[in-house]
Symmetry: none
DNA sequence: GATGAATGAGATTTCATTCAT
DNA sequence: TATGAATGAAATCTCATTCAT
């Protein structure tokens, strides 16, 4: 008896991400995805009930992975600024290394594929970031303003930074990274 | 024999923007656009040679309008910070009032519709912003780092801010605007 | 300007009926129908929103035509038996000449295509037959039993007769017709 | 190595009948049948070489069962009318209790699934009914006309009666049955 | 120029059948 | 034999574009 192959999910996701990065969300077809993944088109429907479900599942997976990686190595005992920088760097590195996911998530956000439910769940994943900001404010290191606004600033600037680095093709030196972080930190610090 | 009706361009653009904001770039069809614009599908092809051209033209138009409005009221005699804030506010207001265009531009950027040429031209429109940053640096008010990085920061943070405001539905008070600007200014200032 | 061509409905219906008679309801495809009708597959979707709608519409059309023709030449002044025979003959002739419709209606009845609504409407078309039976009972010419049962008997016997004639290929002589009618009449008469 | 499990045939047949009654012949898939039967899709192909064979086999089985039951309790010594009524009742009861088979047979008759051979064999099963009619004619109790026509009448009326009873949901009383039989008898009797 | 029906290539999806376990 | 994932041909349906009016 043949069992459902868990590696196929990864295979399909990788294929879809690659294609979206290349041709945009509006340019991918189920046929393209299956071909890229090296499986038959019909097989896609063994793993996902349709294109919508595939894209929603991939969206959720990308969001989760992205969050999961952010707090790697985070240690609450560590002083705030280095701990925060660690998270900031995790995010930056992840986004640069998985630029396809960044594009995919952005393209999805205003697409008809993502359901309200999926969107809702994605929102909830932000909780740890709010907690981190709250800690910085409690320690009087961060500006005492609406934490949503602070997060907005961090994420927005980071997004654009990642895109700029990706498209400019300019190598990202340690000093550039530090400059960028200080730019961000100057904005947030009390 | 009638002449091309200039108002139809606006009609078509407005329809396309509305639909992209609602259903995403991957969700719109020529049929949808014509219906929303209140004209026949065939008529679209009188004004645009095809879907690609329509989207490229709209993309270019949005970019141009967006830049044109940014420097409204800009007066080089004015001291830098208020002059800069004026531009910053122009951009913020425009993006909030024309949120559909923000979405559209974002969606386009990684779509196969936009040609390299269109992308190139869009890039060139950023020149006045570089000049503005250069002035701030010359006056030693802004950090003396890669101006592309500074612009990236400003635009990225602004984009996210606009989205947050739009989706949260929270009214934007004068004090919130000022807080946001100061956040941005603290990041940039020397 | 090209207008929707009313003859296309007839063209499509004729094609569908021909194919169902040949290959059964389970054997027809939208592609087959369009080819048989001499139009592009996409054109079918200009006239019907999908396969379901096409089949429901054809079902309704067949039912209506079948009923409409039944009372041709019916004259209430005429004595009951010849008036009744006239109707009976109308039905028999119509079904023999439009055998494809008989098959189609039968195939449809237990198919997932026909909606409850369509079924409902079809049911209502039987009213004139009930009225005719009621007249025969009022004149004490027909058995005074549940009129639904009488109609059931007439229609059931007729259906099978039509099939037998069609498949046996034996010519239907005037005398055979009369014999059949008398068989039916003997069953019904008081 | 296990042997073919005879109960599986019954399981498969039951599942197929249930589904055809619910969704029509055009609405069933091998997947549906296997799921309804509680077995794997692949297992269907252990018992039948394909969909066609499955349906032909079921068709033949239904026809055989239907005929076999008709003459239960038939005693040639018994006078004709009660003997005939006995057969008539056997058929009526069987069809009411196995309505799914009635639908299935009807649906099959004009489908491309049933082969000429299967159809042929089904035809031959009617022989005992012809013999019964011949006896009635020899005893000068039945009209002396083409026996095919008489059988057509009986079966057609019965079919419709069964459907009417099934769909109306009205309980079938002993008196209703008798009335129906007399209707039939009046038609046939010399 | 304006219309919208017509087109057919191509997208999504289904499903009978096969095959590895 | 039993399983159900895998397949790919074929079905349904969509949609950018054309064309007759």
């Amino acid at each position: 008896m043949k069992l459902k192959d868990d590696r196929k999910y990864a295979l399909i996701f990788r294929a879809a991400l690659k294609l979206v990065a290349k041709k945009g969300l509006s340019g991918i077809t189920m046929g393209d995805i299956s071909k890229e993944a090296g499986i038959a088109t019909g097989t896609l429907y063994v793993y996902f009930s349709g294109k919508d479900e595939l894209i929603n599942a991939l969206f959720a997976a990308c969001r989760e992975r992205s969050v999961a990686v952010s707090f790697k190595g985070y240690n609450p005992q560590q002083p705030f600024k280095p701990a925060f920088k660690n998270v900031w760097l995790n995010i930056l590195k992840y986004r640069l290394q998985h630029f396809e996911e960044v594009i995919f998530l952005e393209q999805c956000y205003h697409s008809p594929y993502i359901t309200a439910e999926t969107r809702e769940k994605a929102q909830q994943l932000a909780a740890p970031f709010y907690a981190l900001i709250a800690r910085g404010q409690a320690e009087q290191l961060l500006k005492n303003i609406d934490s949503a606004m602070l997060i907005t600033f961090i994420i927005g600037a980071m997004n654009e930074l990642v895109k700029q680095i990706h498209y400019s093709g300019i190598a990202l030196t340690r000093s550039k990274i530090n400059t960028s972080f200080e730019l961000c930190w100057d904005a947030l610090k009390a």
